[in-house]
Amino acid sequence: MRDQHLGLTILVTAVIALVLSIVPLPTWAAILWPQFLVLTVLYWSTMMPRAGGLLLGFASGLVLDVFEGSPLGEHALALSVASYLAIRLHLLVRAKPIFEQSLFVFAALMVYEFVLWVIDGWSGHPLSNPARWVHTVTGGLVWPLVVGILGRFHTNR
């Protein structure tokens, strides 16, 4: 069966995740706050690798670039790579219990942040503050929640 409005669903969830990513927060919360847009892209790449595909990752990354003020293409590259990993490993990851999925997500987020970190360094914004890595852990921790919520919006394929 084909989900009739899957494209629309993906778009709407991505926009909501974007709003969650840029909402103003107090300092401590901003450090812990997971990158919801990245998690959403990872979710759709894992569960519906054909629907969003790499284009979803690339486009979401460009949007993040605009909001974060990073060189245009930085988040796009990082998110394309993370999305690629999720698409390539989707059969493997999907079959695992949710706890193990969290570990995969953590690893993908580490890769994502690593790409950003490298580009930051090359482009002259070297920031080695350990706080930037915290969201990879919290992202893995909220993954079950993301699966629980986004899983309601499509039939399992």
């Binding site: 989900d3 899957l6 993906i10 300092t27 054909r50 790499l54 003020g69 930085e74 796009a76």
Partner: protein, 312 residues
């Protein structure tokens, strides 16, 4: 949406380019974009337009805060307003007196320097801007304001509040601009201790109440309570604007540099509005423009003021 949805039934590895090939393609586009973004190419014009597209989302996300502000403004009692009015009138009188004295001092100063002609006013143009959103975390200390390129704002324009320097314009959209605060870890501002004219550089510490001065030798003459003003080097801020007050100095015998911390005088925690300043370059106190530097191969849109040298 059709773009996402229509591909649902396509086999992943059958038709079309493989994910690996696609990743290569997207990565290539991303790198190309980054490269041209650095080089001030058409990508920057694209970005300017995208800033405008992003503004409604930013305003939407911050609308609860802005709405609360508007509500609390409109609900304030007459008594509070009267009291505030009283206070502001009082303050205005004090400032009037100060201005009178300052005019005399300026006159005297001009005579001492042997300047025949009257100096042009230092501030050529100023305007108020409202803060749309505030982002204060250890990696980024930025605010977005509601004035942009269409209002005559330019990149690197100085942003101050009533107490001192807040930061400078880092990114520009047609109707909005992003300001990098002096407390951002990527921002550095050339300062001078008023007590003894000692020059140094104050770098953001990544939290909204702190600057660090990492380049002061362990034996330099600074102490808690010293006022730091901008030194006029660096080409962004004119000399003499208040920046921060030294809040702590730690000297350890086995280290060459003192650990000096300062508390900025301006703060976005209190402000709703900021002042954008443009200076008359003819004025002696105006920020000295930097000599043009050949762009490095992968140099960035510079967030921090160009520092001549990091040495004390």
């Amino acid at each position: 949406m059709a773009v996402f949805g229509s591909a649902v039934d396509r086999p992943l590895y059958g038709r079309g380019a493989s994910p690996g090939l696609r990743l290569t393609g997207y990565a290539f586009i991303a790198v190309l974009l980054m490269y041209y973004d650095q080089r001030g190419h058409w990508v920057q014009r694209l970005r300017y337009a995208l800033e405008a597209a992003a503004l409604p989302v930013q305003e939407l996300v911050n609308s609860p805060g802005l709405g609360w502000r508007a509500l609390s403004d409109s609900l304030r009692s007459a008594a509070t307003l009267r009291a505030e009015n009283q206070r502001l009138l009082q303050r205005e009188r004090e400032l009037d007196l100060q201005v009178m004295r300052e005019a005399a001092l300026e006159q005297e100063n001009a005579e001492l320097r042997g300047l025949r002609a009257a100096l042009p006013p230092l501030i050529r143009h100023w305007q108020l801007a409202e803060i749309i959103s505030v982002e204060t975390n250890p990696l980024r200390q930025r605010i977005v304001i509601n004035k942009g390129g269409r209002d005559g704002v330019v990149v690197n324009e100085a942003v101050v509040d009533g107490n001192g320097i807040l930061g400078q314009v880092a990114r520009l959209g047609p109707w909005s601009a992003e300001v990098i605060l002096a407390t951002d870890p990527e921002h550095a501002i050339p300062v001078q201790v008023t007590r003894n004219s000692l020059r140094s550089i104050a770098v953001g510490a990544g939290n909204s109440g702190e600057l660090v001065l990492p380049y002061l030798a362990v034996n330099s003459d600074v102490k808690s309570g010293d006022l730091l003003v901008s030194s006029g080097l660096g080409g962004v801020f004119p000399a003499g604007l208040p920046v921060a007050r030294i809040s702590g100095v730690r000297r350890e015998a086995n280290q060459l540099l003192a650990q000096v911390r300062a508390q900025p005088l301006a703060s976005v925690d209190r402000d709703r509005e900021v002042i954008l300043l443009q200076f008359d370059t003819a004025h002696p106190a105006a920020p000295a423009p930097d000599p043009p530097i050949a762009p490095a191969p992968m140099a960035l849109p510079k967030p921090a003021p160009k520092l001549p040298d990091a040495d004390p």
